[in-house]
Symmetry: C2
Subunit: 318 residues, 2 copies
């Protein structure tokens, strides 16, 4: 089977790479990308949505490859001046990036939903597939650490993931309403596959799954649900996934990530490096190259994941 | 008499030039500069104080001489991007300037008074004389025009002063509390002079005078109150003063400006060009060069105004 719509659940960098690959092998109207907004926060009076922006910039070809966040061709006059006048500079905002935050903040304050603002930003930046936040209601990932409860960006950026994580919570998730476009796509006849991108399970995918109604909708959907492991060779390609797993008492392995989604998955995609160690995961496994350095590798992984889904066929999750 | 403190009431560009001159001929602890905040507004979710910033940048040597507003060595990446994503661009905010607005907005939202925020910004930018807003409470200049009531910056920047002005109001003035440092300075023994800078009377000085208690305090203060005419040769050096006077049924003359402050003034400073036309203003007039293109001209006018005040001596207003 091919054709039909594909839903991709994604966090920031790693997820965005696969989302970009998918966007290059699928017609834009067949791809719905769902972003984690648990990383969102308010800083300097601005509403900042890091994963949405990483997806948007990556899909628009505007991502800053050197930094791994923000925009390319960025300038820092705002930040330099903020430092000079004694402002908070631990979260760096480029001059161009700032325009997105200021405009989003203004429109949120005017009562527009995050999904509508995101849709217009994407249109303006030339992003063709639809990108939606998991919910228009605020969900905020918080981490209990040896230093107490920390807001996500304080843990992630200000403290550079140094504190040992003991517990993770998604404030606001219990009352957040799932994005209607996502629920609709999951229930639609033409659904081809749901792809859980190679993002950190704890802080990128599980905030999405914490939105009421999304786990049941994923479990019930008729198309295959396939995850791509963010662990390659026992290590995270990027970010604190492996460190966090160890701190939470889990082996940093592709198998342990699969276990987080076990009730949802119809297939799993792992790297060649992890094939020997994965053992019997109790579900169909596709072994391929999952490290996506080049654009060609992103497209190849996208094709491999779609191929795996199509091989499983529909009604896999029923 | 020399020594003692000098209070300068100022709007933006013209006033800031004289304030800079004063700052170069007076020790910083002898100068208190009071800024009009009737021009302040909220835009893109940011609290913007144009006259405070023009004063601050001018006194810090950071003003953009070409533009006449904002900072020198400015960049526009934020604004260019805002335009690309469909944001409002009629009020241009440079990347460096933006840092001041974001930081001020954040601190106002946290409950800090505008005067405290201004003091710290001035310290950080190396401004030595004290600069205070006329009030920490919001006052907003509004103009009734042929197009209805307009907020000041919409009239001034967006519509470039084109609408015919019929009436001017200062929203919030009736309940605004005067800046304590200003009241204190006006009542202090050591007051040497009060200088009304060559700013637009209607939209720069009268918003200050509209704050309850300030007109009586100026009328009662023991030091000379001296205004510098913003009209030179029957025209405004900069801005819409002359156009506005004509629309309000006043002759665009130095004499007509003096009449706006008649109850307060002990002396008036006009340009050579206006000496013949001024006639008998009924108060001591100093004739000098008032156009301040160079720094030397700013210092010279500052000295001339202080000299005129000292010649009048104390208790002039009693």
């Amino acid at each position: 089977m091919s054709g039909g719509s594909v839903v991709a659940l994604s966090g920031g960098i790693g997820g965005a790479k696969l989302a970009l690959g998918l966007s290059r092998v699928l017609p834009p109207e067949e791809l719905l990308i769902v972003a984690n907004t648990g990383d969102d926060f308010e800083h300097l009076g601005l509403s900042i949505s890091p994963d949405l922006d990483t997806l948007m910039y990556t899909l628009a070809g505007l991502a800053n490859a050197e930094l791994g966040w923000g925009r390319r061709d960025e300038t820092w006059a705002f930040m330099d001046t903020l430092a000079a006048i004694g402002g908070d500079t631990w979260f760096r905002l480029g001059d161009r990036d700032l325009a997105v935050h200021v405009e989003r903040t203004r429109r949120l304050a005017a009562g527009e939903p995050l999904s509508a603002i995101t849709a217009e930003l994407c249109t303006r930046l030339g992003v063709r597939p639809r990108v939606v936040p998991m919910s228009d209601d605020p969900v905020r990932t918080r981490l209990r650490t040896e230093e107490g409860w920390l807001d996500f960006q304080h843990y992630f950026v200000r403290l550079q993931c140094r504190p040992v994580v003991q517990e993770i919570a998604f404030a606001g998730a219990a009352t957040a309403r799932p994005q209607p476009a996502l629920l609709h796509a999951l229930g639609a006849e033409g659904l081809r596959a749901v792809i859980i991108c190679p993002s950190n399970p704890f802080i990128s995918i599980e905030p999405i799954l914490a939105v009421p109604g999304l786990r049941p909708a994923l479990a019930a959907c008729r198309a295959p649900v396939i995850a791509v492991s963010p662990i390659v060779g026992g290590r995270a390609v990027k970010g604190p996934t492996a460190k966090m797993m160890a701190e939470l008492g889990l082996a940093p392995s592709a198998a342990a990530v699969a276990a987080r989604y076990r009730d949802l998955l119809d297939g799993y995609v792992i790297d060649h490096d992890d094939a020997a160690a994965a053992g019997d995961l109790g579900l169909p496994v596709t072994v391929t190259a999952t490290v996506m350095t080049t654009l060609a590798e992103r497209e190849a992984l996208a094709r491999a994941v779609l191929g795996a889904a199509d091989a499983l066929g529909g009604d896999a999750g029923a």
